[in-house]
Symmetry: C2
Subunit: 155 residues, 2 copies
């Protein structure tokens, strides 16, 4: 039996972090991943959703949030996630139930190339609010640039 | 596209409920299950854990909690769950990411016959506390009987 503790590494994209969450590997009895919300997440989740049976040619996400932060973890199979803060991009492969991606607001995220058995779990800091979404990429880039230019307005 | 709203049915076992959580079935784009914690859960989750790669001959769980409530959802594959309040038992097959089982404290629960691709997600109402577990079944039956006999002591 092997216990690996939670640790993370930052990304080139503003505020994004890739977590290895605490997990217990036990070939005889089976494996266990643990997410202690207060310890791992910079927010208290209000909601969780799971996407599954996503055709491999489909892209999900393709939006940013103004306030809602998210934490993504692939519980089965794998998928790719691209994050983008308007100036820098980074791509991650989420391929195991121990690897979580924290995506803060004001980061554009897309999920794609899902394996046939992919199930992606997403924790969200806010209840669903259609008004919190930015669904146009040019609009996101433009608004993100304005935020960077005048950060004091968005403190 | 088909949207199914959250609904649940009670169990014969005290306080246990089986939920069909809100989900969107979309063959073209992929499916989505949503758990709005405040709406679905009788608690605010503090923690989540995922069990996976459980050999089919292994049984997990086999304990009750004194305070911690849990919500189980099979995100991949399937497993069986038996719940027991000390007098009545019921068995459930959790076989899809839309079917959640609420297990209150003072219910003994065991998970077994996991499929090779099973990933079971469990939300917990409390942080981990070794002192909250009852791991002896005879002790559980005895304590649960005392609680039923003198419910006023445990209000």
């Amino acid at each position: 039996m092997k216990i690996i503790d939670t640790h993370f590494r930052p990304s080139a994209v503003a505020g994004v972090r890739l977590f290895e969450v605490r997990h217990v590997l036990d070939e005889a009895r089976g494996h266990l991943s643990v997410i202690d919300f207060q310890e791992v997440l910079p927010f208290q989740p209000q909601r969780c959703f799971i996407t599954y049976s996503i055709p491999s040619n489909q892209t999900r996400g393709e939006h940013a949030h103004k306030e809602c932060a998210q934490f993504l973890l692939s519980v089965s199979g794998h998928c790719h996630v691209k994050v983008d803060d308007g100036t820098r991009q980074e791509e991650f492969l989420l391929d195991r139930p121990t690897l979580g991606l924290y995506v803060p607001p004001w980061v554009w995220a897309s999920e794609y190339r899902h394996s046939h058995d992919s199930a992606l779990m997403v924790f969200a800091s806010h209840p669903y609010d259609a008004g919190d979404y930015i669904r146009s990429y040019p609009e996101f880039v433009s608004q993100a640039a304005r935020r960077r230019a005048k950060p004091s307005l968005h403190a």
